[in-house]
Every structure is written in structure tokens, then in C-alpha cells.
Amino acid sequence: MTGEALLEIQGLCVDYGLGPDAVHAVDGADLVLHRGEALGLAGESGSGKSTLAMAATRLLRPPGVITGGDVRLHSDNGAVVDLLEADFAGLRVLRWSQVSLVLQSAMNALNPVFTIRAQLTDALTAHLPQLSKRDRLARAVELLEMVGISGDRLGSHPHELSGGMRQRVMIAMALALRPQVVIMDEPTTALDVVTQREILEELKELRDQFGFAILFITHDLSLLIEIADSIAVMYAGRLVERAPAASLFKAPRHPYTLGLLSSFPPLHGPRIPMTGIPGSPPDLRQLPSGCVFHPRCRFAFDRCAAEAPPLVTIGTGGSRLVACWQQAPDRPVPAEIAAPEPDQQLLPLTTAPAQKETTPVTGAASAATAAAAEHGSPA
């Protein structure tokens, strides 16, 4: 946790459509993004992660409707803005200057008929009308060079750039007004692995330089190892767990997180049987009673079908949140979701202290821990 709250989302409910056929895409989600924090938002397709981020900024397309909750943004002039009550004019002022957006496919997110120059400077024109044309151009060049693209590409059109370059332009565009928050929705999913890594490296550098907060939305947990400080996991429109990155990987507390982690094979270590998560995501029009995950959860018991567990803080430090009845203080916790917290200074997938004894189970983090314990040190 690196600062005070920046974006607070409480109990947000978002539907697609109205009436009896409405799809409940987000159902009471709570999320807090802190100043300068890189928060990963993970979950499978249809979990509502993009919907959550878009709805919070009122950018959700029709037929999306916000049906409940609160979203507050702590603007850098000290004011706290209620985003759900704001009108178009009020939102306009905040947009891009406080919160900006990077989308998955730059080919679709960049306007094909306008030059890069026009797309880098339009936000400047809208928000800083006092800037002269020369200053705007200078800033555009500065932005491009910040992401490693030469300034003479200003006159190009999006289709003349490679995929990686386009994504970089999007990132540069997003930083044009030095926002506090950059929401990134699957920014590297459409790229090849090599470019993906380059972009992530650049993102980290930029973050070190400018200190903005990132909400990094992805279905690929392994990316979040690289960049996230904390990770929040969503399932069927709700938050089910939130923890510092290392803790989540080494010691997941929610059965769904455990299932996610065991769904991708580790590149190192002994071969292990893959388990994945049985069943399929629920129909968002008719969610299961009680805990939404219980039909697919191997630790489910009778309380899970009756009541939905609230998102509560567990452990010390206040940085771990879980919504699971198995984590309630009155029960013994199954070993798989009770692994001890990793030492906070260490990065994930490195040496684990030798005296930690975990039951050999499936999962990337645990397997890596076991392997590291065997071999003594990382490769």
C-alpha cells in the first residue's frame, strides 16, 4: 500500500439492459486504488473486470447501466468527486487529466483517419486551451520520445505503424496530461510475447518516473507478477480476494484464486498434474444463491449455498481481503488456502525460507516454492 486512497469503489452494481432480462455483470464490487499503486485486476472472461473499470468512469457503453454503489475520485487539487453523480461537464474536466485509458487493441483504439500528431494533441487542446500550437507540438514530440518513438513519426497514420509502436503511442497518449490513474484494459493481450515484455518494462520505467497509479486489467495472472503491487481477483461480478502480489501467488486465500493459479503450467520445476477449475462460469442473469463460486468450489459446505460471504480483511496489516466462508475465524482453514505468508521483501518465485513446510499441492507458486526449496536457489 503506497499511499492514501485515490479511487474508491464501493458496492458497485452494473447491469446490461433493464427489465427482467438484465445481465448482472457486476454485483456489489468493492475496490480501492491507492496513490501510485499498481493494482492488477484479474479474472476470467465475463468476470466483470472491464465492466467495473468502465462503469466506474462512466464510460460503459449502452446498454450498460449502473444500478447501485458509490465511486469517489480524490482529485489532485484535494476535492473528492462523486463520479456517479457528476454530469457530463464535470466528468469532462476529470477525464484524461485525472484518469486516462489504454485499451487492448491499438488498431481499434486509434482513429484510422487522423495523424498521430492530431491524436496526441487533441486532449491538450481540449484541456489546456492556453497552450500555443508550438507548445502542443513540442509536448507531442516529448510524449513520443518518452515511449521510445522518434518524433518524426508524428505525421504518420496508425496503419503505418507496427502493433507494438501503436500500443506505445496509446500509452504516450494516455500520459499526455500526467494523470493520476491510468486504467489499462488488457493492454498487451494482442501483442506477441517479446513485445509484451518490452511494453511492460517501459511501463515500469514510466511509473517509476511519474508515479501514476495503474489499474491493470487482465485475464493473464502471470503478467501481474511483473508489474503489480497488489492484485484483486474478480469472479462473476464480485471481488473475491485482494492481496499484495507476492502474497497472492505464494499464499492464495480464496479457492478460486487457488484454481486460477493452478490453471497455468509453471515453466520450471517438476511436472505436476493440471487441475484447472471444474464447471463453467455462471449465467449472469441467474446467479447461484449464496456464494457465486460455490457450485465449482471443492471446499464448499452448506453455508456457502445459503449466504454470500462478505469481503473482509484477514490477517494482520489490513492488506488482505477475502470473501470466503472457509476463511471465517470459527472454522479450520483447508491447508491449500492457508499457506503461510511469504516474506514481504522477497520477490515471487525465488527462494523460500527452508523451514516452511507446505503440503505438496498443485499450483505454480507452490511448485516453484517446492522446487526452490529442493534446489536451494533460483536458476
Partner: protein, 326 residues
């Protein structure tokens, strides 16, 4: 540029085919065109030379080979000789057409442009404000699109000219003495042009409205429009970002539509007795003035091809993706 060169070549090929069609149709259709022409010309003296020219034009009873006739035809064409118009006192077809062409170009060109501008604007608006009462406009436009141009012309004449007396009932201009002051002439011409132009606009705008609306709906779902809104740009800018992309199919669709619009406009001219190509057309049909018909077909086709080429230029200008050299 390469795209444009290819389009130009295509239009030249099409023009060539049009000329060839023009040459072959009289020869392929059963019956003797020359007789048909003469049949309509009872009571007018015709010189032997004229009959010979007609025969050569249509390939009847002449001893020249098909190829010789063909090359002769092309030769004439390249010299601007389109034959003789029997329904206009044997004046050269090219002269007759040249007299009527400016009227048609002015009316149709002007009306088509306005129709396109108005149609795409309204279409964008209907799409932007989806779910509002504007959506009810669509069935109305469907009706106007299906109604024949000349029927709308009838309605316009009946309503605005005969019943309300706001506009003259036809012709291109009143019988003024020429040259009256230029302004009187101009306003008179405009006065006569309003109803025909209105008819053309109402009949053709519907197509643009629907096309633009449909494309705009799809475009508004694109990510770059969302980003434009996310950037906090004013609403008008966001619409512009979408419309600037959505307009492209309307420009390329212009090429398809221009043929229809010209056809409809010609029919409108007939109803209004407007002194353009339309009137020449219907008179030529009535008098079996085949030479004039042939000439009109060529000129109209060339005009449509030229309009297509202009539309292609505009498209390349508007869409940078087409400028990429292969």
C-alpha cells in the same frame, strides 16, 4: 496513387464498352432502324445524303464491313461527330446535346450535392441520438425512397405550383428577352429550378440517410470513439471523430448511387419540361430519333463515369489507408 490509376483505367475500359454497346445495339436488335426513323418523318423532305448517313450510322443496307463501320464510328466519335438529329431539324446531335447539357449538369449536380450533404448529416444525427423520436423518420424515408422520382415530381408540381402557386409549373426559365440583366435571369432560373431540385433531393436523400445511420451506429461502437469520449473531448468533437470515419462508405456508395440518381433526375426533368437531357430523351424516343438516343446514352454514361472518378479521388483524400502504396 496506384489505386487511382487503376480506377481510371477501369473507367476507360468501361467507356470503351459503352461505346461498343452503343455501336452494336442498333445492329443486333431485329428490325430496320432506318425505316423506323423514316416512318416518323412523313412530310419532311430528306436528302439522299442524310439517308446514307443514317444507314452508315446504324449499319443498315450498307456495303461496308462491320469492322469498317466500327472504326468509322470511333473516328466520328473522336471528332465529336455523333450524327444527325432528325427530330431537331437535322442539326448535329452534338450541338443539340451541348445546348441541353448545362441545364442538366447544373440541376443534377447541385441537387445531388445538397442531397448527399443533407442526407449524411441527418443520418449521423439519427444515429447519434438513437432511441429518440428521430428514429421514426426512417419509415418515412423508406417511402420516399421507394416512390418514383417522377411521381414525386408530379406531387410537387400539383401541390406547390398548381395549388399553391409558389413556383412556376415547368420549363427552365420564363420567356424573357435575352440578355436581360444577369440578376433577373439568374433569379428566374433559380425560381424554376427549385421544384425539380427539391424533388431530386427528397427522392435521393433517403438513401444517404439510411446508409449513414447504419454505418454510424457501427462506428459509434468502435474503441476510438470511446477513447475520444474518455479524453474528455467536447461532444461535438466525439461525434466528428465518429462521423469522419462513418462517411467513407457513403462516399464509395456515391459511385453506386450516382447512376440511379441521374436516371431519376432525367425523369424529373421530363415532368417539369426542364430543358435538359431528359426532355431530349423523351422526344427522341417519341420520334425514333435513334442518333440522338445513341448520343445521349454516351454523354450520360461518360458523365456518370466522370462523377465516379471524382468520387474516387475524394475517397482517397478522405481515407489515408488507401494511400499506402502496394
Amino acid at each position: 496513387m496506384r489505386t487511382l490509376a487503376r480506377r481510371l483505367a477501369f473507367y476507360l475500359v468501361t467507356a470503351f464498352i459503352a461505346v461498343s454497346l452503343d455501336f452494336f445495339i442498333p445492329r443486333l436488335i431485329p428490325g430496320n432502324p432506318v425505316d423506323a426513323v423514316l416512318a416518323k418523318m412523313q412530310g419532311v423532305t430528306i436528302t439522299k445524303a442524310t439517308i446514307n448517313a443514317l444507314e452508315l450510322q446504324f449499319g443498315v443496307g450498307t456495303k461496308a464491313s462491320l469492322w469498317a463501320q466500327y472504326t468509322h464510328f470511333w473516328g466520328n466519335l473522336l471528332h465529336g461527330n455523333l450524327g444527325v438529329s432528325v427530330s431537331n431539324g437535322f442539326a448535329p446531335v452534338s450541338t443539340v446535346i451541348r445546348g441541353a447539357l448545362p441545364w442538366t449538369l447544373g440541376l443534377v449536380g447541385f441537387a445531388t450535392l445538397i442531397s448527399w450533404l443533407l442526407g449524411t448529416l441527418i443520418g449521423a444525427l439519427v444515429a447519434w441520438r438513437r432511441g429518440s423520436w428521430l428514429d421514426n423518420l426512417l419509415p418515412v424515408t423508406t417511402f420516399f425512397q421507394a416512390a418514383p422520382y417522377f411521381f414525386l415530381a408530379f406531387l410537387a408540381l400539383d401541390l406547390f405550383s398548381t395549388k399553391l402557386g409558389w413556383f412556376p409549373s415547368g420549363q427552365g426559365h420564363s420567356n424573357l428577352d435575352f440578355p436581360a440583366s444577369n440578376w433577373t435571369y439568374l433569379s428566374d432560373v433559380l425560381d424554376h429550378a427549385v421544384l425539380p431540385a427539391l424533388t431530386i433531393v427528397v427522392a435521393s436523400a433517403a438513401g444517404w440517410i439510411v446508409t449513414m445511420r447504419n454505418v454510424m451506429l457501427t462506428t459509434m461502437d468502435e474503441d476510438y470513439v470511446l477513447i475520444a469520449a474518455a479524453k474528455g473531448l467536447p461532444k461535438s468533437r466525439v461525434v466528428w471523430y465518429a462521423a469522419r470515419n462513418a462517411i467513407l462508405p457513403s462516399v464509395s456508395g456515391f459511385s453506386l448511387a450516382i447512376g440511379f440518381i441521374v436516371s431519376g433526375a432525367l425523369l424529373t426533368e421530363i415532368v417539369f419540361s426542364y430543358p435538359g437531357l431528359g426532355l431530349l430523351l423523351v422526344d427522341a424516343v417519341g420520334d425514333n430519333d435513334y442518333a440522338l438516343l445513341q448520343g445521349l446514352f454516351l454523354i450520360i454514361t461518360f458523365a456518370v463515369l466522370a462523377a465516379n472518378l471524382i468520387a474516387d479521388f475524394v475517397y482517397v483524400f478522405l481515407d489515408p489507408r488507401t494511400r499506402q502504396e502496394a
